[in-house]
């Protein structure tokens, strides 16, 4: 009992410390480039975390980036062409991605697991090619330029927050990402998450005890796509311009990177993709001069982790904790003897 309280305390301290760090980052770092990096990293974190949510029902989506594209272009166009305010555009973009996820999920989730991975890959590439070629809507190969940043808001007590500055946008992103992660975490730990895990564990059995497997899978996929859309909207209004060419963020490569983030961080825990995305994003920033070798190293890292450290970073830490507690038990026993 005491142990559980202590681990809860550690968790609470950890989170508060982390939160404080994240909140205090901009003034401490006070370098626009690195604050931008942190903004993008947070967006990657949400993408990795929501992609992992799909893993909970036992499916791998290699096309999660396609739903980010939907949210990005969706939000940008809603603001630019339909005059939506940013907050509305953000939410609607999320729902747009979620609804498309729902629609595609119906045929996709009925087929064998590996087909699903292939289909999601096809989907994101198709979305990207459409965005790249549809000059009318998305500017085609020229891209979509001039996306406005959100209007400034005034909060009594804090004054006016201007989101056109990097610091302002950082806090906007921080709030949205934290809320999103909290929702995802809640869902995973809830009865819904339990059903999802049951489906992943033994789908036939879950169906036989009355779980409407298709419905639960659809909900999971739609929720994950919703948050990908939110991430996309945040991306669009930060970059102020979108492009869908083969070297953009919407290419297949990013989907691969997201999967690697999840695997390296540890796919078994909620914090895994967060840690993986953070660590790998930041390291690749620090390793800028080695940019051409980065895909190679990330690919190599992924292979090494799969072969040698299947639980990822968190799995490894968990193992260390396990050994340590065993060592402690040994010492106590010896202490009593001797």
């Amino acid at each position: 009992m005491l142990n559980m309280n202590r681990s809860m305390l550690i968790k609470i301290f950890g989170f508060t410390g982390l939160a404080a760090l994240f909140i205090a980052a901009p003034p401490i770092v006070s370098n626009i480039y690195w604050i931008s990096v942190l903004i993008l990293t947070q967006i990657y974190i949400l993408m990795a975390a929501s992609m992992r949510t799909i893993l909970l029902i036992g499916h791998i989506s290699l096309g999660h980036i396609g739903f980010m594209l939907l949210g990005a272009y969706g939000s940008a166009l809603l603001v630019m062409k339909a005059g939506f305010p940013f907050c509305m555009a953000l939410i609607v973009a999320g729902f747009l991605s979620g609804l498309v996820g729902l629609a595609l999920g119906y045929p996709f989730l009925r087929v064998r697991g590996i087909y699903f991975a292939i289909l999601t890959l096809l989907t994101s590439e198709s979305f990207r090619l459409v965005a790249f070629n549809w000059r009318g809507m998305t500017g085609g190969a020229m891209g979509l330029m001039g996306i406005p940043s959100p209007d400034a808001i005034s909060i009594p007590g804090l004054g006016v927050i201007d989101f056109s500055t990097t610091e302002g946008y950082y806090y906007l992103t921080l709030v949205v990402i934290c809320l999103s992660l909290m929702v995802l975490y809640r869902l995973e730990r809830s009865r819904l998450g339990f059903k999802w895990r049951a489906i992943r564990e033994a789908e036939k059995l879950a169906q036989a005890v009355g779980v409407n497997v298709m419905w639960y899978k659809l909900v999971c996929f739609a929720v994950a796509c919703f948050f990908a859309g939110i991430a996309g909207a945040l991306f669009a209004h930060f970059q102020r311009g979108l492009s869908a060419d083969a070297s953009s963020i919407f290419s297949v490569l990013t989907s691969i990177y997201l999967l690697v983030y999840i695997v390296v961080g540890g796919e078994n825990k909620f914090a895994g993709p967060i840690i993986g995305a953070f660590v790998l994003s930041m390291t690749s920033e620090f390793a800028r001069p080695l940019e051409e070798f980065q895909p190679m190293m990330i690919g190599g890292l992924a292979i090494v982790v799969v072969m040698l450290m299947p639980g990822g970073i968190l799995g490894f830490l968990g193992q260390i904790r396990f050994w340590w507690s065993k060592v402690l038990k040994q010492e106590t026993r010896q202490g009593i003897k001797g």
Binding site: R186, L187, R189, S190, R191, L192, F194, K195, R197, A198, E201, A202, K204, L205, A206, Q207, A208, V209, G210, V211, N212, V213
Partner: protein
């Protein structure tokens, strides 16, 4: 009216006829055996009754309602439960969690319960936990409630499968080879359990087995399948005397051990 009526049930897989025009009535509180050598189509028949396969032709009626095209989760809601072959369980869940999963039909899944139900709400819902524990106790495996399902010995895994199936209080229980791979004592326990389910809880049972002798004493009626067709139906004594049945078993070197 029979609890379950199967009319002319047929299933083709590509060119292979797995089941051909099966007719069977199962009455309330009966224990019916579906027997036959390996490959006779027994599992296919059970999969169709359970809703895993859609029949190519034919009808299945539950209390007069046509359930032929309903999927398994709808059938579960109508009181059909299943114990699968090969101890299909939620392996990485604990014994208690397995039964909690089985209680899906008795679990509130409202939005409030999902979002605000507290940390791991499902696992802290005392009503559900008590229900699960009582099921585990009645089957004698409550002491292992926190053990991971995959770490249980074979016999206890089988009993856990039964617990999961019984959790929502079904009226029709489908048992897929319930005694395969068990030693004599375990077989005795299982057979007694199944009989008790019928006698004390009024649950109707359909059992699939290839070992005729073992379930002879248990079943009220037996239908024998061979190569997808029903070749005999009757009480155990009638079946044992039936020459067609003998030929089916002797012909495949399957011993009526």
């Amino acid at each position: 009216m029979a609890l379950l009526e199967i009319r002319s049930l047929t299933k083709l897989f590509g060119g292979l006829t797995a089941i051909f025009e099966l007719d069977l009535d199962v009455h309330k509180r009966e224990i019916v055996g579906l027997i036959g050598p390996n490959g006779a189509g027994k599992s296919t028949a059970l999969n169709m009754i359970g809703g895993v396969y859609l029949p190519t032709n034919g009808q299945i009626l539950l209390r007069g309602e046509d359930i032929t095209s309903l999927s398994s989760h709808h059938r579960a809601a109508r009181g059909i439960a299943r114990v699968f072959q090969d101890n299909l369980l939620f392996s990485t869940f604990s014994v208690l969690e397995n039964v909690l999963a089985g209680l899906h039909l008795r679990t509130n899944m409202g939005l409030r319960d999902i979002l605000f139900g507290g940390h791991r709400a499902h696992h802290h819902d005392q009503v559900l936990i008590n229900k699960s524990l009582s099921i585990l106790e009645s089957l004698g495996i409550a002491s292992e409630k926190d053990e991971l399902a995959m770490n249980l010995p074979h016999g206890k895994q089988r009993i856990l499968s039964l617990a999961i199936a019984l959790a929502p209080g079904p009226r029709l229980l489908l048992l897929d080879e319930p005694i395969t791979g068990m030693n004599a004592k375990e077989v005795e326990t299982m057979l007694a359990m199944i009989r008790a389910l019928r006698d004390e809880k009024g649950i109707t049972c359909i059992i699939i087995e290839h070992n005729l002798r073992a379930v002879m004493g248990l079943c009220d009626r037996i239908a024998v399948l061979n190569f997808g067709k029903k070749i005999a139906e009757g009480t155990s004594s009638e079946i044992v005397e039936n020459p067609a049945v003998m030929e089916a078993y002797l012909g495949t070197e399957e011993n009526v051990t």
